[in-house]
Symmetry: C2
Subunit: 396 residues, 2 copies
Amino acid sequence: MKRNPYFEQISNRYLFQEVRHRLLHFKDKSPDARVISLSIGDTTEPIGPHTIQGLHDAVQALGDRATYTGYGPEQGFADVREAISKTIYQGKVPSDDIFVSDGSKCDIGRLQLLFGPACSVALQTPSYPVYQDTSLLFRNNPLILLPCTAENGFVPDLSPAASADILFLCNPCNPTGRAFSFSQLEQIVHFAIKHSITIIFDSAYSSYVQPGFPKSIYEIPGADTVAIELGSFSKIAGFSGVRLAWSVVPSKLNYSTGQPIKPDWMRIATTFFNGASIISQKGGMAVLSDAGMKEIDDQVNFYLANTKILKEAFTERGLEVYGGTHSPYLWVRFHGLSSWQAFDKMLQDMHIVTTPGIGFGQAGDGFLRISSFGSRASVTEAANRIKGGCLCSTQQ
Amino acid sequence: MKRNPYFEQISNRYLFQEVRHRLLHFKDKSPDARVISLSIGDTTEPIGPHTIQGLHDAVQALGDRATYTGYGPEQGFADVREAISKTIYQGKVPSDDIFVSDGSKCDIGRLQLLFGPACSVALQTPSYPVYQDTSLLFRNNPLILLPCTAENGFVPDLSPAASADILFLCNPCNPTGRAFSFSQLEQIVHFAIKHSITIIFDSAYSSYVQPGFPKSIYEIPGADTVAIELGSFSKIAGFSGVRLAWSVVPSKLNYSTGQPIKPDWMRIATTFFNGASIISQKGGMAVLSDAGMKEIDDQVNFYLANTKILKEAFTERGLEVYGGTHSPYLWVRFHGLSSWQAFDKMLQDMHIVTTPGIGFGQAGDGFLRISSFGSRASVTEAANRIKGGCLCSTQQ
């Protein structure tokens, strides 16, 4: 068998594999170190009792002949799609345009199939590595990179993307934590309409968006003619291991030929996917109830309070800190150090694992992404180490 | 955005969407008909109590800070991979070569990424439509079709596949129900070694294989140098809605350049997937225990007894019936009728939904696939209708 030649275009290791590799090496050398992870954006708080009960009920139903069900519809149960429409979008996105899935990462991969081998992809740099890696494994068109730097306030100049077919956007941005304002997002939508670009709007962290800022791209008029939106239960409901997400492909969204995209997305769902676990979906129904949404709010506020503690610590150390307002992530700049140097220093000196900014693209070099997912005790301990630790020495 | 041009190569509707569409039309016209489904291969029996307890325990763990976990490893938990190695493969396949997933259909789609756009794919016809559809959406190389007919005993002549890079095989075969003997599978493996073909061996129905026949391709010496195997909990443990499966990519499996395939599969897993639901995985651990395997045996025997009842009914009607020995499916021939004509007749005359054989490829025309997933009561009722009903008239 021949190898997909496009593997040559991506690195051998996915970012977090490399982080794990370096961490294991460190632990091998320093077995007694109490390492705190502020690295992978992984939830740590337990799922609330109302949602847990929903998951139990789903399991129980599978044990009884009268309530047992096998395959669900590939695009998700109708009640889950309706609840997402109602609770997340206040009914403004029709349930028929919503497709339930097992994760946004998986949806990004499947979306590449809609675009085909010839299309041109633009994306922010730094950004979630999956946009880039999945794009490069499907085709050999060069990517159009849109730098998001401290200097441009992490809002990219879109003009190089005028020729693109696809524009990946993450809002609030992973890793920079930046959330677009209404006027910024309006400009982006108008740009996409003008240049016939389809936006893939990854809103996995939308529950962290503060009032006065758009949570969904569909809050911008006309966006339903140019944008696919991805949403996820991972970070809002502690479902990173449970696996539940959704995509919105509006009926009004067309290919440049005028042909609608939605039927093809349905074809992809039925051909490459068999539905999210029905247990996860019933858990999602519990999340989307009033009691479940209260549990979400509590979790989001808990993680945002963690973010505040960490932001203060880095600021006290005199470092440039971005993000953290609309996001569980901080984006911390280390002048004079590469990302991997800063990563190694934080690990060696403070026994804190972080995520090197360069893992999100060249424009992320010199930064670390700091995740505030963690128990209050470990985040407070990390903050103390940051305030008291030394960032200038490599000695242990 | 441009449309992936390869959509032109596949039909607009996935097979079972078309079946549902015709069924809804029929129900609309005949609202009082008590329709029995022998169509989609979907489990109907409840999950056994031991496995249900395993699922409950997994849910409970998510509700407690001390036991909560977020993302698991993309390739699955180590204990699940070890249990698959031990229980399914008696330790003969190392756990490190096993990758846990959310379904074989999803794995087939992701495997296409390994092969890249230039490779040549061979497959049995009739076969599970996902092999063909996922292949055609990735590339425009013509498929090499290997007919499996009553005349060749549903064992294909492989010689047209000598130039292929990839050979999809399903064993026991969906839809024909045929299971390869040891000598047949040995010949296939030798052919693949001789012609440097990688086999994708879909063993989703392996628990139906009767003693004296190979359940896994790795029972054939040398297969670990040419074969990827797919396994699934869907049909063996009633997990079609729970979503749990696995793939085996042996360390010894190389590209034609000698480069190992396994690291690329790990890269695909980490880039396009985020792990199967941890609830499903813990349920899988319960399935793979002694008590869980007993529950599986009971389910397999239950469905095989259904198959026997249906086989007798069709035989009594004088129809040619294949399969059903190593498989929950019958493959029934209707001389003088196309598959869709036979489908419509079964629906109109007997109010039984089946799956048209042509949905699995041209060579399946004139056949129906009959699934024996169903309660004993509905299968017995279906058998009575088959024995007593009229297959010769279109009147209702």
